[in-house]
Amino acid sequence: MITWIKGGEVIDPRSGTKRTLDIVIQKGKIERLLPPGNFSPPGDIDLKIIDASGMIVTPGLIDMHVHFREPGEEYKETIATGSQAAAAGGFTAVACMPNTNPINDSRSVTDFILERARKANLTRVYPVAAISRGLRSESLTEFGDLKQAGAVAVSDDGRPVTSSELMRRAIEYARFFNLPVISHCEDLDLSNKGVMHEGTISTRLGLRGVPAASEEIMVVREILLAKLTGYPVHIAHVSTEGSVTFIKQAKEEGVPVTAETAPHYFSLDHTALTDFDTNAKMRPPLREPKDVEAIKRGLSQGVIDVIATDHAPHSPLEKDVEFDNAAFGIIGLETALSLTLALVRDGVIDLPTAIAKLSYNPASILSVKGGFIEEGKEADLTVIDLNSEYVVQKEGFKSKSHNSPFIGWKMTGRAILTMVGGRIVWESNEQRNPDS
């Protein structure tokens, strides 16, 4: 069988391609990439035509930061439902963080995750293993064994590595296995059980605040450790102006550091909490307008390499409670692309840059397949309608959870078709019927 994606504008940030091309796919691979009018399919073959005229076709989007809750909290999300949410959001691959129950700090858990992902058979799922056993910041996990099992990176995400010595050794040891190290930057002492950003709104609401410095202290530590060891550290979910400044300075000095932010940090600020909305509670917390502006600047100046969702599903059991007791985190897979496209419309970044931060850059940092469009490579592709308008509905989520602060938002632009290895894993109902 041949799949023919016809007439779409192909945007491939790596090669700089931005023009109308037909894509011919066979046996899961991109067989040909050619200008329209040049492909005549052989008559005797099963042919599926996807009309992408007026659409853009990009490398399959890659989210390097999700929480799929399996094993342990399947009532919030499973690898299957998480993959459905990812596919519906245009993502062809995700990297899932290790803070499951049990924690992914051993081969058996990594094996289990990959087995579940195979069963779900939708998006690619890359396990991120823990840096420390039990996320306790005491001793290293078996990086080598975990890598062989299929882990693509190590992180204690959800918690910082509190011991600077252990973090230093983790970075050095990871070097041997060529495993990226991802850091959740937070000084837990300074966070002091805070539940939102410390500032005018926390002062008004009488909620315990997490100062921006709580993140920045750790960002600076990781930069210094990257400098000390000479090996890269990836900073997860950057949320403050200070972090952007420090990372920018580090990059200018040639320190091997990369960084990601999440769409909520460039779309919302701490005023979203004035009604004690637990769907706006996450860690790091929503910051101030000046931080939102700095995150946007960081994206446009290349200080922040990646947009990742930190997709963190929680059920009403964890969210429909007193603000202090509510769990941290929001879902993001199904709103990330639309929120990023809003940045493009606002002129913060151009479209190829946006796509790079959602595909090529995370693929490069994790050294996983995909992230670009090239003949002979796997057909992981996302077809995007930049003009599709919709309202985010609670009932519309494919994710098992709907803890999103974006419910009710009017969005423009979304994925209408997601393809993994030549197979369509998601297709919008609203798409025109293929004329095959």
């Binding site: 410390e198 500032g199 005018t200 926390s202 002062t203 008004r204 609401l205 009488g206 909620l207 315990r208 605040g209 100062p211 009604d275 004690f276 429909d320 409670v321 007193e322 603000f323 202090d324 007791n325």
Partner: protein, 313 residues
């Protein structure tokens, strides 16, 4: 025409100047009832008021109960230890169960900021915030405003200083909002560890040293130092706190002669305020307690419907 039109009282934030004046004026009318031989009017006969205290309280709980009883409402009071909270029931489930019994008003005291807002979303009954975490304690602010107005004849233009643990105080937040709305000038004072970040955004001045802060003020409000916070991180010892931030006779020499001293209680004698000052001629601390009953009567009356046209008995 002005009408008091609120179902809930969640915070001072939601009240207009007209609302506040209406509550204070109504309380004025209720003060007289408490001085009668028979301290009861039939105004809220047949209405039920549930008070639900997740945190210990003497004054506020007793004050609400007294207020409801003087208006002839049926009262029921629950505390965390005898509620299903200890059996793991969530606030929302508890709320739904209470709602099923169809009360008119639920009064909530809770250790989490925003808990009354959550409750109000799930019940039809009116919700009164009797103190939520470090957020607000609106009935305390209203009784403070009422006390100031009675003692000073006005609120607008007065200079008020609030001294103590502002950061963790729901009383301070509500008082600041209320006083600013009513046109008073507010200064906050205390150790820098207990002044919240960006406090100026509340419309107050900050003068750390109480000795300087209380000069030329018409009202001094002292806040309780919560002994459970005495962990050596916010301040080193109660001894040092009382030396540098406590109100005593010596410090009072720098205050205006006609200053009034307020405290929401319970007092830690010898810590934030010495006994002689708390019991001295400038103190209106017990007036606050008496006025609390009148303010809460006014609120119950207004929230249950008195503000929407009924006549006051």
């Amino acid at each position: 025409m002005y009408r008091f039109n609120h179902k809930d009282l969640l915070g001072m934030d939601q009240l207009s100047v007209n609302d506040i004046n209406m509550i204070l004026d109504t309380a004025d009318a209720f003060v007289e009832i408490s001085s009668r031989d028979i301290k009861k009017v039939p105004t809220l006969r047949g209405k039920s008021v549930v008070s639900f205290f997740y945190e210990p309280s003497t004054r506020t709980k007793a004050s609400f109960e007294m207020a409801a009883k003087r208006l002839s409402a049926d009262t029921l009071s629950l505390s965390a230890t005898d509620s299903s909270m200890v059996k793991g029931e969530t606030l929302i489930d508890t709320a739904r169960n209470l709602q099923a019994m169809n009360p008119d008003i639920i009064i909530l005291r809770h250790s989490s900021s925003g808990a009354p807002h959550l409750l109000a979303r799930y019940v039809d009954a009116g919700v009164i915030n009797a103190g939520d975490g470090m957020h607000e304690h609106p009935t305390q602010a209203l009784l403070d405003l009422f006390t100031i107005r009675k003692k000073k004849g006005r609120i607008k233009g007065l200079r008020v200083v609030i001294i103590g643990d502002i950061a963790h105080s729901r009383v301070a937040r509500s008082d600041i909002i209320g006083l600013r709305k009513m046109g008073a000038d507010v200064t906050i004072s205390g150790p820098p560890t207990m002044i919240p970040v960006d406090a100026e955004s509340l419309g107050v001045k900050i003068v750390f040293d109480p000795a300087k802060a209380l000069r030329n003020k018409d009202v001094i409000m002292m806040l309780r130092i919560q002994l459970e916070r005495q962990n050596g991180i916010q301040f080193p010892s109660l001894r040092e706190y009382s030396l540098f931030f406590g109100l005593n006779k010596e410090l009072m020499k720098g205050a205006k002669k006609d200053v009034i001293i307020m405290h929401p209680g319970p007092i830690n004698r010898g810590v934030e305020i010495t006994g002689d000052v708390a019991d001295g001629p400038s103190s209106v601390i017990l007036d606050q307690v008496s006025n609390g009953v009148a303010i809460r009567m006014a609120l119950l009356y207004l929230l249950i419907g008195g503000g929407r046209g009924d006549n006051l008995d």
